[in-house]
C-alpha cells in the first residue's frame, strides 16, 4: 500500500516545500463547516495516545476563537513518529495547522517539539514565508522533559512558564487553556492527517484502515526486530504483519508491548490480532501512541515489567496521593517478586493496589501504569510465580526496554 503521511520521503533529507506541493498540491483552506463535516465523516481520531475524535474537540470549542497548540512533544521514550514527521515532512504538519487555523479563525499557533526537532521546523517556516505561504503566527517552543509533560494540560502549564505538570479537569483546554483562552491541542500526526483530509476528503481517508478507526497511522516498531523504526501502517493490520514491515523478529518472541509505556503486554501468540482498538481492547490494550515493542524470548518479561514500573513511578508528577504513593509501592512489590523476596500476601496486595490507584489522579498516568502492570500479571503469570519462588532468572539482566534517565529530555 502506498504511503500517505510518509509519501515522497527518501534518504534523510526533509521534503522541501517545492517537492511537497508537487506531491500534495497547495495547502487547503476549507471554511469551518466544511472542514468539521469532513473531519467528522472521516472519523479522524487523535494520534497522541488517547484517540479522542478530532471533530468533537473542534465542536466543543463552539464559536470561540482558539489558540492552536501543535503537540509534538512525544514524551513516550520509544516514540519517534512525531519527530519523524516534524523533521522529514514538516510541511504536512504545518499544512494541517494552517488548515485548522483558517477554518477556526485562529490567529496564534504554538508548536511544541523536542529541542532537536525545532531547527528543521524553523527552516520549513522560512521556506513558507519566502513563498508567501506562512500560516498565522507560529511560535516554536521546546518541550519540557518528563513523561507526563506531553499530557495536554501539562504542556500548557509549561508554555505558561510553570512546571510541566497536569492539572485537574474540567475545565478542558478547549474551555480554558493557554492563559485562560480556549485552546485546541492537537498531536502533530493528527494535524498531518487533517491536512490530507482537507485535500482529498473523508471518503478518500476511509479507503484505508477499519470502519471504527479509519486511515493509516504511524507506528514506531522497537525491540527485537530487524529494522526498528517508524512505519506507516493501515489501522487494522495484524501485529505480526506490522513486525514483518520492520523486517520481522530477530529471534523467537515472548511478548509485545503495544501502545506505549502506558500500554499493555500481549503474549507473542496473540500477534495475529489486529492493530485496532476493537481487536486490542479484549486483551486490555489499545493502539495508544502507536508503539509496538517486541520482547525477545531471551529477555525476561518479569524483570522488564519491574524496571518499567519503577521508571513510571519515577515519572509521576507527584501531585496526587494515590499515584505518588501507589506507583512506588507497586514498583517495590514487583521488584520483590522479580527477585524472589516476595512476602506473605504480596499477590493479593498487587491486585488490591492495581485497583486502588486507578482513576484517582488528575491525569491518566496511574491508570496507564496499572494497566501495563495488570497486563504483565496475565501474560507473565507463570514467570512471575517462578521468580517469586526461585528468584531472578538468567535473562533478568538483559534490559531490553530503553528507559531514559528519570525526567530526561528527548535529545531530538
Amino acid at each position: 500500500m502506498s504511503a500517505r503521511l510518509l509519501a515522497g520521503l527518501s534518504g534523510r533529507d526533509p521534503l522541501s516545500l517545492e517537492r511537497h506541493v508537487e506531491l500534495h498540491g497547495p495547502p487547503p483552506s476549507l471554511e469551518r463547516e466544511r472542514l468539521l463535516r469532513e473531519l467528522e465523516a472521516a472519523g479522524l481520531r487523535g494520534r497522541g495516545g488517547a484517540g479522542f475524535p478530532s471533530a468533537v474537540k473542534a465542536h466543543n470549542l463552539g464559536r470561540r476563537r482558539p489558540v492552536l497548540v501543535v503537540n509534538g512533544a512525544e514524551s513516550e521514550p520509544m516514540g519517534m513518529k512525531d519527530r519523524v514527521l516534524l523533521t522529514r515532512t514538516p510541511h504536512l504538519v504545518l499544512d494541517g495547522a494552517q488548515a485548522a487555523a483558517h477554518a477556526l479563525a485562529v490567529r496564534e499557533i504554538v508548536l511544541v517539539a523536542p529541542q532537536g526537532s525545532l531547527p528543521l521546523v524553523a527552516a520549513a517556516l522560512r521556506e513558507r514565508r519566502a513563498l508567501g505561504r506562512a500560516p498565522a503566527e507560529v511560535e516554536l517552543r521546546a518541550a519540557a522533559p518528563g513523561y507526563v509533560a506531553g499530557e495536554e494540560s501539562a504542556l500548557l502549564a509549561h508554555l505558561e512558564g510553570r512546571p510541566a505538570k497536569p492539572r485537574v479537569k474540567p475545565p478542558l483546554p478547549v474551555e480554558r487553556g493557554l492563559q485562560g483562552r480556549p485552546t485546541l491541542v492537537h498531536n502533530a500526526e493528527t494535524l498531518a492527517h487533517l491536512a490530507l483530509i482537507a485535500r482529498y476528503g473523508a471518503a478518500w481517508f476511509r479507503e484505508r484502515g477499519t470502519q471504527e478507526q479509519p486511515g493509516t497511522t504511524l507506528v514506531t516498531v522497537a525491540g527485537a526486530v530487524q529494522a526498528p523504526g517508524v512505519y506507516e501502517i493501515d489501522l487494522g493490520t495484524p501485529l505480526a504483519r506490522v513486525l514483518e514491515t520492520a523486517g520481522g523478529p530477530l529471534e523467537e518472541l515472548r511478548a509485545l508491548l503495544v501502545g506505549g509505556y502506558f500500554g499493555a503486554w500481549l503474549d507473542a501468540s496473540d500477534a495475529h490480532v489486529q492493530l485496532a482498538d476493537i481487536a486490542l481492547r479484549p486483551l486490555g490494550a489499545t493502539v495508544g501512541a502507536g508503539i509496538v515493542f517486541a520482547l525477545g524470548a531471551t529477555a525476561c518479561g518479569v524483570a522488564e515489567t519491574a524496571r518499567l514500573a519503577r521508571w513510571m513511578a519515577g515519572e509521576s508528577a507527584g501531585q496526587c496521593g494515590p499515584c505518588a504513593n501507589g506507583l512506588p509501592a507497586l514498583a517495590d512489590l514487583l521488584e520483590r517478586q522479580a527477585t524472589g523476596r516476595a512476602v506473605q500476601g504480596d499477590a493479593d496486595r498487587l491486585q488490591r493496589w492495581l485497583w486502588m490507584v486507578q482513576r484517582r489522579g488528575a491525569c491518566h498516568h496511574p491508570d496507564g501504569t496499572a494497566r501495563m502492570i495488570a497486563s504483565a500479571t496475565r501474560v507473565f503469570a507463570q514467570e512471575l510465580s517462578d521468580h517469586a519462588r526461585r528468584g531472578p532468572c538468567r535473562a533478568c539482566s538483559v534490559q531490553a526496554l530503553r528507559l531514559p534517565r528519570a525526567g530526561a529530555a528527548k535529545a531530538a
Binding site: 485537574v168 479537569k169 496521593g321
Partner: protein
C-alpha cells in the same frame, strides 16, 4: 441549586494531602486507601446524609472536597 438535586462528592486529587478528616466524618461514603487518601463512593449522597457530607467538605483543611450536582460531577470524571 435545590437540595433535591442529586449530589455527589468530588475530590481534587492535587489539592488533597491525605489528612483523612473526611473519612472520619463521613465513613458512609468515604474510605481511606492504604496511603491515607480518600476513596469516594461514586453513588449520589442520600438526602438523609447530606449534613454529614457537608461536614466532611467543610472540615477539609485543603478545600479538596466538594459536593456537586451529579450531572456536573459525572462530567468531571469523563
Amino acid at each position: 441549586m435545590s437540595p433535591k438535586d442529586p449530589e455527589r462528592l468530588v475530590l481534587d486529587p492535587i489539592a488533597c494531602t491525605g489528612h483523612g478528616l473526611c473519612a472520619e466524618l463521613f465513613p458512609e461514603q468515604i474510605a481511606l486507601d492504604d496511603w491515607g487518601y480518600p476513596i469516594l463512593d461514586p453513588e449520589t449522597v442520600p438526602p438523609a446524609l447530606r449534613e454529614h457530607a457537608l461536614r466532611a467538605v467543610k472540615a477539609c483543611p485543603t478545600l479538596a472536597l466538594r459536593l456537586e450536582r451529579a450531572r456536573a460531577a459525572a462530567r468531571a470524571r469523563s
